[in-house]
C-alpha cells in the first residue's frame, strides 16, 4: 500500500507539472532551441580564430581536432544542468509563490515522492529537449550519432541527472529559506560553465581543472565525448563512471539532509508562510 501510495504521488506530481508546463508553449520552444543557439557563436568564433573547423592545438588538449561537435555535446548535456537548476530548484519557490507549498508540506504524505515526481518531470522534459537539440545538431551541423552509442550515453545521462537532482533538492531547500532562487541558480550555473568542460577543455588552466574535479558534469562530458568523438567504450572510461557515481551518492545524501533540515527550520521560523 505504502509504495503504491508513493507511486501515485510521483505520478500525480509529474502530471501536474507537465500540465502546468504545457500552459506555456513558448517555454517549450525556447528550451528546445536555446542551448544550441547559445553554442553557435562559439563555433563561429572558433572558426574565425583557427581559420577552419579543425584545430591541432585543440586536439592536444582534447584528443579531437573537431571543436564543433565538442561544443554541441557540451551544449546538449548542459541542458540537463540548466533544467535541473531552473526547473527543480525553482519549483518549490513557485509552489511558495502560488501559496500551495504550505498545503503540500501540511499533507500527511512523505515529501520524498513529491520531490521525486518533480525530478522525474524534469528528467522527462529535459530528455525531450535534449532529443530535439540533437535532432537540430544532426540536421544542421551534421553531428554524427551512432545507434550503438545511444545506450551508454543514456546511462551516463541518468547518472548525471541523479547527482544534479541531489544538488537541486538541496538548492530547493535553500530557496525555501532565502525566498529567492534566481541569484543562487545563476551563481551555480556560471560556476558550472566556468569550471567544467562545457565550452572548452578544463586542461586550459590548472585551477579550473582542479575545481572541475568535483563537478559531475565534467565526468559526464568526458565519457560522452569519449564515446562519440574518440570511439571509446564505457569500459575504457570506467574511472569517470565510478567517480560520477560517487559524486551522485554524495550529492543525493547532502540534498536530502539539507532539504529536511531547512524544512524543519522553516516550520520553526514561520518562513514557509511568507512569500
Amino acid at each position: 500500500m505504502n509504495s503504491f501510495y508513493n507511486l501515485s504521488i510521483i505520478s500525480a506530481e509529474v502530471k501536474k507539472c507537465l500540465k502546468i508546463l504545457l500552459c506555456y508553449p513558448m517555454e517549450l520552444v525556447f528550451w528546445c532551441i536555446f542551448p544550441i543557439f547559445w553554442a553557435v557563436p562559439f563555433i563561429f568564433q572558433g572558426n574565425a580564430l583557427v581559420g577552419g573547423m579543425e584545430s591541432e592545438a585543440f586536439s592536444k588538449l582534447t584528443g579531437t581536432t573537431q571543436f564543433m561537435p565538442y561544443i554541441l555535446i557540451g551544449a546538449v548535456l548542459n541542458t540537463y544542468v540548466l533544467s535541473a537548476l531552473y526547473g527543480m530548484s525553482n519549483s518549490l519557490r513557485e509552489e511558495s509563490y502560488w501559496g500551495t507549498l504550505e498545503l503540500i508540506l501540511g499533507s500527511p504524505c512523505s515529501k520524498i515522492p513529491i520531490l521525486l515526481g518533480k525530478a522525474l518531470n524534469e528528467a522527462v522534459t529535459s530528455t525531450i529537449f535534449a532529443v530535439m537539440q540533437i535532432f537540430i545538431c544532426v540536421i544542421i551541423f551534421g553531428l554524427d550519432v551512432a545507434v550503438n552509442q545511444i545506450l551508454p550515453i543514456m546511462l551516463i545521462v541518468i547518472l548525471l541527472m541523479l547527482g544534479l537532482y541531489g544538488l537541486s533538492i538541496a538548492l530547493a531547500g535553500i530557496t525555501i529559506q532565502i525566498k529567492q532562487s534566481h541569484s543562487l541558480i545563476h551563481t551555480i550555473e556560471y560556476l558550472f560553465y566556468l569550471f567544467s568542460p562545457v565550452r572548452y577543455p578544463v586542461n586550459i588552466n590548472p585551477w579550473i581543472r582542479m575545481v572541475s574535479l568535483v563537478i559531475p558534469l565534467t565526468y559526464a562530458l568526458t565519457v560522452v565525448r569519449g564515446i562519440m568523438l574518440l570511439d571509446k567504450s564505457l569500459i575504457n572510461l570506467w574511472q569517470n563512471v565510478v567517480i560520477l557515481l560517487a559524486i551522485d551518492i554524495g550529492l543525493i545524501v547532502l540534498g536530502y539532509y539539507i532539504f529536511f533540515y531547512i524544512e524543519k527550520r522553516a516550520r520553526k521560523s514561520g518562513i514557509i508562510s511568507t512569500y
Binding site: 504521488i9 500540465k19 502546468i20 501559496g99 498545503l103 516550520r267 520553526k268 514561520g270
Partner: protein
C-alpha cells in the same frame, strides 16, 4: 470529549530591525502568547480577533505548519509536535489568502492532485470529487482553469480540497474573506448545516467578522495581541457586558472623540458611526446628540442591544478593522 486541546501554546517570530554596522537588530514578536483552550467534539468554535491578533499563527501551529516555541496541542489525541503525520491525516485546512490552488489547472485536476497526497485511491477520489463538485455547484466549470474562476468559486474549490479526504476536524482560516455576499452566505450555510450539523465535523473557524462568528459558532474565543481574552457562547458574552443598551449614531462630519462619553467611533467612507454603551441610553441621549450636532450632520439615531463587537471593544479596547457586510 475534547477534539482539540491547546495547552499553553506560545509562538514567537523574530522581526529584523535596523542594521547597525555588521549586526542587524532583532525583535521578538509574540504572535501566540500562552494560549490554552479546548474544543469539543462536533463543536463549531470561533477564534475572533482583529488582523494580527494571532489567529492564523495558532491555526498554523495546529495544522503542524509551524512548530510552537512553548506548549503543545493535541488533535483527536495526537500531539502536533510528536505525531504530526497522524494530525495531518485527520485535519482539513483552508488557509487565508487567495492563492492556495494551482490557477493553471482545472478544479478537477487540482482536487485530483491533492487527493493523491492524501492517499485516496483513484476510484474513491473520482467519486468524492464528483460529489464535492456537485454540492459546490462547480460541475459545469470543472474542466476550466481556476484563473478563469471568480474569487468565490476558487474559495469553493479550496473548501472542497480541505474536505476531500473527509477529515474529522476542520481548520477554516477566514473562509469568507473577500467574498461577495451571495458566496459568503452559501459558504456559511454549508459550513454550519452540512459540515457541522449533518456530518458532525469539529470546526475551528477564524474570522474577524463579528456577525459571522455570532451566526455560526457554538462558542467563541476572543484573541487579541496573541492572548486569549475570553471563551464563551455569544449569548453569555453579550450578557456579561454590564451596559445593556447601545446608542448608535450615523453622521457626516469629522468626529474622532466625544469629550464626556466613552464612545467607539468608526470613520467610514461615506459616514461616521458612533456607538456608546450605557445602562439606559435615554439618560445620555440629549447630551450626546447636542455634542454631535455641533460638529456633524446626523443621519440616523438608533438604540440597539450590544453586539459581539461591542463586547470585544469593551473587553480589549481594540477595534476590529473591517466590518462584516
Amino acid at each position: 470529549m475534547d477534539n482539540i486541546i491547546v495547552s499553553d501554546l506560545t509562538k514567537k517570530f523574530v522581526k529584523k530591525g535596523k542594521r547597525k554596522l555588521l549586526r542587524r537588530e532583532k525583535e521578538d514578536i509574540l504572535a501566540v502568547d500562552h494560549i490554552s483552550v479546548k474544543v469539543k467534539k462536533g463543536e463549531l468554535f470561533g477564534l475572533l480577533g482583529p488582523n494580527g491578533a494571532g489567529k492564523t499563527t495558532l491555526v498554523k501551529c495546529l495544522a503542524t505548519l509551524l512548530i510552537p516555541d512553548e506548549g503543545t496541542a493535541t488533535i483527536d489525541g495526537h500531539d502536533i509536535i510528536t505525531d504530526p503525520i497522524s494530525v495531518r491525516k485527520i485535519l482539513g485546512i483552508t488557509t487565508g489568502g487567495e492563492r492556495t490552488l494551482y490557477w493553471k489547472l482545472s478544479a478537477r485536476d487540482n482536487l485530483k492532485y491533492f487527493a493523491s497526497l492524501y492517499g485516496l485511491s483513484s476510484k474513491d477520489a473520482e467519486e468524492r470529487i464528483d460529489y464535492l463538485l456537485d454540492i459546490m455547484d462547480l460541475k459545469k466549470k470543472q474542466h476550466q482553469r481556476l484563473e478563469k474562476y471568480s474569487t468565490g468559486m476558487r474559495q469553493k474549490v479550496s473548501i472542497a480540497r480541505a474536505i476531500l479526504h473527509d477529515p474529522k476536524i476542520l481548520l477554516l482560516d477566514e473562509p469568507t474573506l473577500g467574498l461577495d455576499p451571495s458566496f459568503s452566505m452559501f459558504l456559511r450555510s454549508f459550513i454550519k448545516n452540512d459540515l457541522n450539523k449533518k456530518e458532525g465535523k469539529t470546526i475551528l473557524l477564524t474570522t474577524h467578522y463579528m456577525d459571522e462568528a455570532d451566526q455560526l459558532c457554538d462558542r467563541i474565543a476572543f484573541v487579541d495581541r496573541g492572548k486569549l481574552i475570553v471563551v464563551d457562547t455569544s449569548k453569555n458574552l453579550k450578557r456579561n457586558v454590564s451596559k445593556n443598551e447601545a446608542l448608535e449614531i450615523k453622521c457626516i462630519g469629522n468626529i474622532d472623540k466625544l469629550e464626556n462619553f466613552n464612545a467607539h467611533i468608526k470613520n467610514k467612507k461615506d459616514y461616521t458611526k458612533i456607538r456608546i454603551l450605557h445602562e439606559n441610553t435615554e439618560d445620555i441621549m440629549d447630551d450626546v446628540l447636542k455634542d454631535v450636532k455641533e460638529r456633524a450632520k446626523i443621519l440616523s439615531v438608533n438604540v440597539t442591544r450590544p453586539t459581539l463587537e461591542d463586547v470585544f471593544v469593551h473587553l480589549t479596547g481594540s477595534k476590529l478593522e473591517d466590518e462584516y457586510e
